[in-house]
């Protein structure tokens, strides 16, 4: 959807490196969801952000929502092969559905 842009489309990093994935909305978000997907599997819910300036962490993954509630970033510290997969953001505009980004494919090599 043009109202939600996710970048980059793909990312190849060396194990141990940090990385950031961005999700930008053309309008104010009610909430922003982050998911991870491994090939051939369903989505795994990571985190949900709802307040401007909010930051949440899960293990080595940190997600932030900016004060204007139009941009979110997902940051992975000291990446590991287990972090590999597709990361998707989902925008909640206070309707009955999520609008998903097209995903970021992350590869982590030793």
């Amino acid at each position: 959807s043009q109202e939600l842009e996710q970048s980059p489309q793909s990312l190849i990093v060396q194990e141990g490196k940090n990385l950031t994935i961005n999700c930008t909305s053309s309008k104010t978000l009610y909430g922003l969801y982050w998911y991870k997907q491994k090939y051939g599997e369903g989505l795994i819910f990571l985190m949900m952000l709802q307040k401007g300036g909010e930051e949440k962490s899960h293990e080595k993954i940190t997600a932030k929502l900016d004060e204007k509630k139009q941009q979110s970033s997902l940051h992975i510290t000291a990446s590991q092969p287990s972090h590999a997969g597709i990361y998707l953001c989902g925008a909640d505009y206070n309707t009955d559905k999520l609008i998903f980004g097209t995903g970021t494919r992350l590869q982590v090599f030793p």
Binding site: G42, I44, L88, G90, D96, K97, L98, G103
Partner: protein
């Protein structure tokens, strides 16, 4: 997760045939969703249900119908499959009103020749 089982996991069929995909959940979640995932499009909502016999259309509902006769089962039917419906289909659930889908099945890979 949330005890979601999709069946079948893989299916190959011919254009014009009817196809039904099943989603079964064991967590008594009120909301259930059907998505399709295609390269370059991400996940798009087909239909969703907010209770038994209560369903509504998503953004790509043309050519699809759904039914929910029990809390635990949500069926997606392609009445006359077309090649454009070749995709990976995901079922998802949410526990209560105001929640967005947080639990997903492992998907059904459907190929229509």
């Amino acid at each position: 997760d949330a005890g979601i089982t999709q069946s079948p996991r893989h299916k190959v069929t011919e254009t014009g045939t009817p196809v039904t995909l099943r989603c079964h959940q064991t967590e008594n979640h009120r909301y259930m969703y059907w998505y399709r995932q295609d390269p370059g499009h991400g996940l798009r909502l087909i239909h969703y249900s907010y209770g038994v016999k209560d369903t509504d259309k998503g953004e790509v509902s043309d050519g699809y119908s759904v039914s929910r006769s029990k809390t635990e089962d949500f069926l997606l039917t392609l009445e006359s499959a077309t090649s454009s419906q070749t995709s990976v289909y995901f079922c998802a659930t949410a526990r209560r009103e105001g929640d967005q889908p947080q639990h997903f099945g492992d998907g059904t890979r459907l190929s229509i020749l």
